[in-house]
Symmetry: C2
Subunit: 337 residues, 2 copies
């Protein structure tokens, strides 16, 4: 078989702050053959994630930085087109860390085969979002760390985003009242009408802090935070007794070098005997499959809605991370090859 040409998005420099297109280049290489226990996957959908900012940074973080000159780390959904594995056959649709490239050769244990329940009726690309790490992050972060009870008030930042929108819906389905915080009048409308938040607030509004104080007059029981920064600062002043704050992301902070100051949280946590806890899906890799099995029927029934922001072609990848942080997208950003 003739070797396939494989276009790869390569990291060529580390960004100061949010990555942009000049930090990457597209290189065409030839891809070889899978060895025993491996498969050759043709990528169909590539993921774009806020966490990528951390992965390309040399700053202290929770994952090894992507090497300069290496293929950009990314989740992707693809089809097995050649198999030297006993576990996977040609035609299987899989998801895993396949990278920003046309093809990948990976060990069979490094990918997850999409369930028949998923591929029977739902788009395979959802394995990058609501039926993948985003959905599992929302579920495990909300239920595992946030521990909402029926009747609780749950506040969610980046409420129109891939994780935030799922958190809001799962909280509502649990019998909670939900308040979404988002960044435009249009997204407020989407949060309330599409995702069913009881209230959504635009943090760019001049009256944001007063509106938040009104809505949270009784304090919030759960705060699912993807932002840190001034949004989080505002919510932290309205914690209810024994509130739970899920720290799932810090999208509002463009750099941690130098380390930014903000209002101290210790006194809020003490006087409300509240809890603030980080959540990373990496700690829960073996739970994702089980959660996705629960989410599939919820998405099928329409109980759990999602939105995909689809970019076309590998050449859209280098500039795509910036788009996440500019807040121009709705829902999960993916790249269709």
């Amino acid at each position: 078989m003739a070797q396939r040409r494989n276009r790869q998005v390569i990291l060529i420099e580390r960004p100061a702050g949010i990555p942009h297109s000049d930090n990457f280049t597209i290189l065409e290489t030839l891809i070889g053959e899978p060895a025993e226990g491996q498969v050759l996957v043709q990528n169909r959908y590539l993921s774009v994630d806020p966490a990528m900012r951390g992965w390309v940074s040399a700053e202290s973080n929770y994952a090894e930085p992507v090497a300069l000159g290496g293929v950009m780390r990314a989740s992707a959904v693809g089809t097995v087109i050649q198999s030297e594995s006993t576990r996977l056959t040609v035609g299987d649709v899989v998801v895993g860390r396949l990278g920003w490239q046309d093809y990948a050769i990976v060990d069979d244990f490094a990918v997850r085969r999409l369930s028949d329940a998923h591929t029977r009726s739902l788009p395979p690309s959802l394995a990058l979002g609501i039926l993948g790490t985003n959905g599992a992050t929302a579920w495990l972060g909300l239920f595992g760390v946030g521990q909402p009870q029926r009747g609780d008030l749950v506040v969610v930042s980046t409420a129109a985003g891939a994780v935030g929108s799922a958190v809001g819906q799962l909280a509502r389905l649990t019998g909670c009242r939900t308040v979404g915080i988002t960044g435009s009048a249009h997204k407020v409308e989407v949060c309330e009408s599409h995702y069913g938040f009881d209230v959504a607030l635009n943090y760019h509004s001049d009256d944001f802090e007063r509106e938040l104080a009104d809505v949270l007059a009784q304090g919030t029981d759960v705060y699912f935070d993807n932002t840190s920064g001034t949004i989080s600062d505002a919510v932290m002043t309205h914690l209810a007794h024994r509130a739970r704050v899920v720290v799932c992301g810090t999208a509002a902070i463009s750099s941690w070098d130098p380390w930014p100051d903000g209002p101290r949280v210790a006194r809020h946590l003490l006087t409300r005997t509240a809890r603030m806890e980080g959540f990373l899906i990496q700690d829960h890799a073996d739970e994702v499959d089980g959660v996705v099995q629960k989410l599939v029927p919820m998405v099928e029934r329409g109980d759990l809605r999602y939105h995909e922001h689809v970019l076309d072609g590998l050449e859209s990848a280098p500039g795509s991370i910036r788009g996440l942080y500019e807040g121009i997208n709705l829902g999960k950003t993916i790249i269709r090859l």
Copy 2:
């Protein structure tokens, strides 16, 4: 019976920051007779607590502020000298919120009778410290929130203090390595030789941050914090994966109005998937008695050591809170009447 003269320490103005003696005056009044269900208690030992700063402040807090013109709120140990209660008899030694005064009339359910196991062999004043809320705070905060496991590294601030010294000893008895942070060379010596910390560090040392970084090279699993401020800021940069931070006090911050800034903690909590949680003994009032029963034999055997800093006479009360924050005392500060 002639009415008794009762000297009372009265709050006459709210302090800016740490309370000082001019914020109080001593007033002599007459005390009446207990009604049905009440007892008249002669106070013998009064408690001095860091939390008193919050109680006299009008700032947002977890307890109703002490009224201007009212008796200063305080725990005290005393002897029942007249009883209209079926539960308590003359001669019983009790502890409760009896106030900074010579005598108090209280409902019988508002005080706790010291156990015979306690009074048989140990000073009754310990009911204000290691065998009272300090010991219960250490136990419940450490085990309930900090959840140390054998082999964990446990860091404690105000390590020579009433709560911190108990936390360090309980952690060591659990099989943890312990690091105490305190404020003088003498207290370092006390922490290591009297309380058995594996290492103690003086945060006034020029090399404190480097020494801390050396000791915490592998990260700390539990941080029991009584300080907030720069000590906490330094420890927070050395959290281990899934570390637990117990927020038990904020002694290093003299005022929360205006609210102070400090290095943001969200990124530490996220990248280490760590937890930071407030602890107030008020949330656990019904657990104190059970914990004290466990602590009595540990103190009797000498497994759990304590130190009392004893002031003499009611007139020492008004200036006593300031002493706590100046770090001049060792262990639990009490006033002997």
